[in-house]
Amino acid sequence: MSGWNYERDLEMLPKLVASSADVAPLLNADPDAMPEVIDPRKWHRQETQQRNDCQGFASSSADEASFLLETGSVVQFSPHFAYITAQNIDGIRTDSGSTISGGVEASMEVGACPLDLCPYPASYTRQIPRAAYEAAANYRIQSKAVLTNYDAVRAWIGQGAGGVVWGIMWRFEESSPFVCERFIGGQAPHATAILGYSERKDRSGRPYLWVANSGWPRPGFYEVSPDAVNRAAEDKFTMIVGRSGMAVPAPRPIRFNPLGV
């Protein structure tokens, strides 16, 4: 069994809730004031996991969204670094998954490491170069919030707060490949990143969420219906956390050349 596991049994939900940012101001925002569509396929490079490190892929993807918001630039962070640093917090020493709460804490305390300093290894290893830790200290998430339903997730993304990681018992009824209409649950604990919302809308005019999935049942961008998100959010195994406000080094200067000469 590989390719999807996150450790639901070790989650620290009470600790996360206690230190969660207040999302009430976001929820009070007028949904009509949010962008019609936020399409992460414009900037997010699809990745495929080969072990039980789904949380590492989801975490690094959400951190990339935060970096983009802070700098207007795209970077790829290391999923393996996010996986191992979360496992260190969780106290897990084998390739058996990691927790959403451990991943959030790792992003806030240790930071996110650029991919070139900690590439994806051929097999599971706990060895992380010292330079990776040093670089990660420059990319730390500043705040997080436990999100409890579709409206909160959409507001978090639509207001430009950041990306979202969720861990759920992934099983959906799909109306077509990659389009999830109904949450069934109960099959496999899996972490993915919610990075935007699509042009597809339900009968109430609410947009489906864009979910970047690195693994099971197949990697790719999924559109998940608002009802399916709300049903998943009610499931006792679900954990949804928004991340926001990355501290970043000075951005690389951009050359101004609109004339193309």
Binding site: E36, K42, W43, L68, L69, Q159, G160, P251, P253, L259
Partner: protein, 275 residues
């Protein structure tokens, strides 16, 4: 002579001209109470006794990095007096804008304005300015007035040079205007360049996850409709703006898409000036 006499005369002339033009060219449209929406100054939350709602006559503060947005369903004209304290840009609505807003949370946020005309008021320099909103078909009693105290990093200035009176907080409008004056331009070229910058700024304002490099690529494509030799002729303008951008980047003032959105808008303002 009364110090305010020239201002009063200017205002009277401007309003009269506008009212006359409306009488001739537009049907009378009476505005409902909510047809023109102003920002509501922030009110301190949950204090006792409950504070009265802000008076329409109250002076609103427009901080350096904020926008004051007037959202109008019906045709109207917005005049600012004296000139040079704020810039007023009219956009077609409905429009989604990202930024910090008077009456908002104090943080960057995305707001949607549903009116047909959206007037974005941006600070140019510190000082007090009166906004006169003249609805189409309204008589003089229908003119709406709002007073803003503009808090800009730039203090009150002596009578400005032509290329300074349009400047924004980033100093890019004057650089853009000065660069334009160094170019032997053909008719319409400055407007084309200005529109390209404003379009990119508006696109960026609608998407908090915009990639700056992609926006610059889009900008280059829009400008690319100009023949190569004409783009080369505009290089003195670009060099002037690029030098200012380099200064801003070194000072850490162009950090993200929101900063660049303001920059593109200022560049457009400089290009539009005098057209």
């Amino acid at each position: 002579m009364d110090l305010f006499e020239p201002l009063i005369q200017w205002t009277a002339v401007a309003v009269t001209r506008f009212l006359l033009s409306l009488m001739v060219f537009t049907p009378a449209v009476l505005c409902g109470d909510d047809a023109i929406r102003f920002p509501t100054p922030a009110v301190a939350p949950i204090v006792a006794p409950t504070p009265p709602p802000p008076s329409p006559d109250a002076v609103s503060v427009l901080p350096e990095d904020h926008l004051y947005v007037i959202d109008a369903d019906d045709p109207c004209l917005v005049l600012d007096s004296p000139l040079g304290v704020v810039s007023v840009t009219q956009e077609a609505g409905p429009l989604t804008v990202r930024g910090k807003f008077v009456g908002g949370s104090g943080r960057a946020e995305t707001k949607r304005f549903s009116g047909k005309s959206v007037f974005i008021v941006e600070p140019l320099k510190s000082g007090r300015v009166e906004l006169l909103v003249v609805p189409a078909g309204a008589d003089s009693a229908g003119v709406l007035r709002r007073t803003l105290d503009v808090k800009s990093g730039v203090g009150p200035q002596p009578p400005p040079e032509p290329d300074e009176e349009i400047d924004g907080p980033l100093g890019l409008s004057s650089a853009s205007y000065a660069g334009k004056r160094a170019v032997q331009s053909n008719p319409g070229e400055a407007k084309l360049l200005a529109k390209a910058h404003r379009d990119v700024a508006n696109e960026a304002a609608r998407d908090p996850f915009i990639v700056i490099e992609s926006a610059h690529k889009s900008l280059t494509e829009k400008v690319g409709v100009m023949p190569l030799e004409r783009r080369q002729a505009w290089k003195p303008w670009m060099d002037r703006v690029a030098a200012r951008i380099e200064e801003l980047q070194s000072a850490g003032r162009l950090k993200n898409a929101q900063d660049w959105t303001a920059a593109w808008r200022e560049i457009a303002t400089g290009l539009e000036h005098g057209e």
